[in-house]
């Protein structure tokens, strides 16, 4: 392997391992963390949008028409 390719691979590894892999102490917790954060690394909108939509529906079911007031307060927030 030429030095150039080796340097390229070395730089790539340095970049990837700039932070240590997360370890939460318990293997099950670490696995849960990886399972949750994994899909968020690429196109997190795939996860964020359904979660937000379900949360919005839950807020509506919980607050009812007070959701209108919440939206108004937020819209006055700029």
């Amino acid at each position: 392997m030429s030095d150039k390719i080796f340097d390229k691979i070395q730089n790539r590894f340095d970049e990837i391992y700039v932070v240590e892999p997360t370890n939460l102490g318990l293997p099950s917790l670490t696995n849960l963390y990886k399972l949750t954060t994994g899909p968020l690394k690429k196109l997190p909108i795939r996860i964020i949008l359904p979660v937000s939509f379900l949360s919005g529906l839950a807020i509506y079911l919980f607050l009812g028409y007070l959701l209108l007031r919440l939206a108004s307060i937020l819209q006055w927030g700029f």
């Binding site: 700039v18 939460l24 209108l68 919440l70 939206a71 937020l74 927030g77 700029f78």
Partner: protein
């Protein structure tokens, strides 16, 4: 004819703007890689482009509030809001720098500044969209199907950007400070202990209704 140094300066500015918008795109597609790259390679000049976008927003918001749509008028309230934003931003950066020292983590002000500046993208989008919606669909809305639907869409949109903002804040701290998951959670909790009362105070002092962070 334009001098060569002027041409180089203009081309550098254009390149800078392209880099910032390319990074914005990566923050949507691959936020993990984007923040990792920003923490390692970004320059302070990129933050200046983002701060300029924030400054333009405050002028836009001021024009909407005062209903004086003149593109060249820079109001004192816009300058005041921008000054408070810069102050809040740097207090936040310094706070995380100090807390990193307490946790014995190696970090630089530049790395924190660049990652935090880029992570303002969801905030910027939210404020620009909310201001524009204020003209298009002004509140309050009626208690009917359309009023409820629009409110639900706006709340879902706000929640989406909030979640994205939280993810970017977490990644910024992860790559700028190289802290562990537990340390980041503690850092954010410490941050909230002063930031939430500060936001409340800013609301009462008529500085920000929703904190620009």
């Amino acid at each position: 004819m334009m001098e060569k140094s002027n041409l180089i300066f203009i081309s550098e500015i254009i390149a800078l703007i392209i880099i910032v918008f390319r990074n914005f795109l990566y923050l949507v597609i691959t936020p993990y890689k984007a923040i990792r790259n920003i923490s390692q390679h970004s320059r302070f000049s990129e933050c200046l482009v983002i701060f300029l976008l924030v400054f333009l927003y405050f002028n836009y918001a001021s024009a909407i509030r005062t209903q004086s749509f003149h593109p060249l008028v820079i109001t004192s309230s816009a300058i005041q809001s921008f000054s408070y934003f810069i102050l809040t931003f740097y207090i936040t950066v310094c706070f995380f720098k100090l807390i990193s020292i307490l946790f014995n983590l190696k970090t630089t002000i530049l790395s924190l500044t660049t990652t935090f500046a880029y992570s303002l993208l969801p905030t910027l989008i939210w404020f620009y969209v909310t201001s524009s919606l204020f003209i298009l669909f002004p509140p309050p809305r009626g208690e009917n199907f359309w009023g409820l639907s629009l409110s639900l869409i706006f709340v879902v949109f706000s929640l989406s950007l909030l979640l994205w903002r939280i993810i970017l804040l977490y990644l910024s701290l992860r790559f700028a400070t190289k802290a562990s998951f537990g340390q980041i959670i503690l850092m954010i909790l410490f941050f909230m202990t002063w930031f939430l009362p500060a936001s409340y105070a800013m609301y009462f002092l008529h500085i920000f209704r929703v904190p620009f962070i």
